[in-house]
Each structure stands twice: as structure tokens, then as C-alpha cells.
Symmetry: C2
Subunit: 215 residues, 2 copies
């Protein structure tokens, strides 16, 4: 079996969010798809280890914020590489409340759902949601997973369905490789990493230069 | 609710196939996503009205052929706008047998699955499949649904989750609008439709010029 074939499936880049006892929380996701058109239903797949999973189980509701190519890529790191149990992710990212649920204000569109069914797998829950509200937030091309990998040069966290352990980038300008210890982003610029300004931040998860380690 | 928000979800273009009593059959699908990475599982959503649905229920197996940007767009029409009950679709499209299942030879990759769970909705079945075989068939960029709509100018059949009734194209060169009665493709070329050669065929479903009707 050649697992690279899985990478040929096309995805978008989303934040799936809900309430955690009145506080907004969520996580980055790629696996979302419309299932029926009338009534409109959408399925999302969320890892059991994601705190968002248990919050969706508790509220019975989730929202999908669809990120655009012009959405701040830092949103992906904020929602993808840390737990909502430990961090108030929406403190770092502007939220809007739509259809009674928190969504990412910088997304290009949102879909709000009531959970009407679910399917459990060994590691993920597939939630089926009946759409209760949806709208376009701004004109933008939706960010695809391919765009995130090829243009933003982003990586996948270990609990993503699409994670491949052999994900590697290229060397930085001085022949040494530096990776962000938070999100796995590998620096690929022409300027040697050591010569980058001290206020350099990871373009994916916005962590400071000090979060980078030599590979 | 603004249903245009659903169009911001990103999809690929796939043929989901299986055996129908020893004969290969399948249908075009957009809704496929990886659910878990180890063991690898993939979910697909197939309308109850698609003959492929009952064939998957009977065999307990399905294959996903991932179409590339250079795959023949006629494959989408062959598998998307006619029923495998009436037509031997693989008579018109070259097949390869991979992991005991028929796949589209002109795809860029394939994934073969055993059904391990399913979730029923009002109109679609979401099949969860454990991957038993997968490989790349040729180097190509996977075709996205956006590419299919924007570059191939393709439409969606009425039983697709992503179908929107207001899908319309532009006028043809003589100010009249001609649409393919089989797949709904709207002719948009500069040459007036009447002046097209008699061997003109619908670029999406390969039907002859006579299948077009004035709108």
C-alpha cells in the first residue's frame, strides 16, 4: 500500500468550533464534506484526542469556519497545534457569533450545524450535522490543503487523518535545517536562520524564533 | 441560510467503483475523505439512487479512482450522468483491476477499501472503508471540484450533495444558450453553436451535438 495515494484526495482548511461551557473553542480540520443537499447536512471528522470532540459531544453543535487563501495562516497554527483545554484559542483569533456558535471572523465562509448522527472509528468521530445557518463572510478563494502545503508550507499535527511521518522540507540558507518545535514548520528561506531578526515568527503558528530547533 | 457557503468546501473529483455481479460499475463522486491514518480508513458519500450504492452494499467493497487534471473529463460524464443499471460504463472507460476491484486506468491514484461501517442519511449512505490497497497511477495534480467547475466548466447531477439549482453559465457566441440535455453543460464558446462541426461533442459527457438543446 502506497500511503502517498491518500495525499491525492482534495481537502480544504477549516476551523471546527463550538462552546466549552460558554467559552469558545475549536480545532483545525481538513475533513469536512457535504452529505445531503436538502435538508443540507455536512460531516466532519474530529480526533478523539481533540478537546473540541468532547465539547461537540456536550453541546450537540458545531460550526465550520472555511479559511480562505487570504485568511491569516497563523489561525491554522493557533487552532491546530495546541489544545483548547490548555489555551483560549479565540483570545488570539477574532471571533464572530453566527447562528449561536463562535466562528473565525477572518474566514471566507461559515456553516453552523446541529449534530444529528455520528459514527465512531478507532481514533476519530465522524459527526453528521444538519445545517442551521451558513453564509459567505468575504470574497476569497477557499484555502485548499494543497495550497496550505505548497504555498504556506504548512505541516499536519500528529492527530490529523492526513498526517504522514515522512513529511520533510528542504534545507535553510546555511545548509542547516530549523524546524518550529510547535507546529513542525521547516524554515526554507534564503537568509541563514541565525541571521533572521529576533522578532521573526513562525509563519504557520506565530511562535517566536526561540521555538525553532535545529533538525 | 446562504447555500453558496457550501460551495466554499473543497473537494476532489473521484469515481467510486465496485463489482456488480462480476461486471464493473461505478459513479462520479466528490465526497470522499480520509478519516483515520492508522489503520487507514476513508469515508465516501453515495446517493441511495445511485446504482453503485446497492452494489457496494452487496460486495462490501469499494474503490476510489482519484481523477487528475489531465484525466479525460469525459470520464466524469460517463460515470456521473447515467446509471450503471442501464449502461456498462467501463465499456467506455479503460479499467484496471487493483486490489481485486475495478478502477479507472486514467486516474492519477486509487484507494481500495473494505466497508467496515456506514451511516444512513435521508438521501445518502456514508460508507466507512478500511483501506486494503492504494497507489499512485501517474504523476498529475489531482482534479479539484473547483477546477472542474472553473476550467472544465462542468456541472453537477441532481443527486450530488453539491448540486445547486441556480447553476447557470453564460451565453454562447450568437447570444443563444445551448445546454447538453445529458449533463447540463452549457456551451460557452465564441463560435455560434449552430456553426460548430457536426462531430462536436459535449466536453463533459461526450454526447453528440444533437444532445444539445436551446435554453
Amino acid at each position: 500500500m502506497n500511503k502517498n495515494a491518500f495525499r491525492q484526495l482534495s481537502y480544504g482548511v477549516y476551523v471546527v468550533s463550538t462552546w466549552d461551557k460558554g467559552r469558545a473553542t475549536g480545532c483545525t480540520a481538513n475533513s469536512a464534506m457535504q452529505i445531503t443537499s436538502d435538508p443540507a447536512t455536512v460531516a466532519v471528522s474530529i480526533n478523539h484526542d481533540n478537546y473540541t470532540n468532547q465539547c461537540i459531544q456536550a453541546t450537540g453543535k458545531f460550526a465550520i469556519s472555511i479559511l480562505g487563501e487570504h485568511s491569516d495562516p497563523g489561525i491554522i497554527g493557533t487552532f491546530g497545534f495546541q489544545s483548547g483545554k490548555d489555551v483560549d484559542k479565540f483570545e488570539q483569533v477574532e471571533q464572530a457569533v453566527k447562528g449561536c456558535l463562535p466562528v473565525v471572523a477572518d474566514a471566507c465562509a461559515y456553516i453552523v450545524c446541529d449534530v444529528i448522527d455520528k459514527m465512531e472509528t478507532s481514533t476519530h468521530t465522524v459527526f453528521l450535522g444538519k445545517v442551521t445557518d451558513a453564509d459567505i463572510l468575504k470574497k476569497d478563494d477557499p484555502m485548499t490543503y494543497a495550497y496550505y502545503h505548497n504555498v504556506v508550507k504548512g505541516k499536519s499535527p500528529k492527530n490529523a487523518p492526513t498526517y504522514l511521518p515522512e513529511e520533510n522540507g528542504d534545507a535553510s540558507g546555511d545548509g542547516r535545517k530549523y524546524v518550529c518545535s510547535i507546529c513542525g514548520y521547516e524554515y526554507e528561506g534564503d537568509t541563514p536562520f541565525a541571521e533572521l531578526p529576533e522578532d521573526y515568527r513562525c509563519p504557520v503558528c506565530k511562535q517566536p524564533k526561540s521555538a525553532f530547533v535545529e533538525k
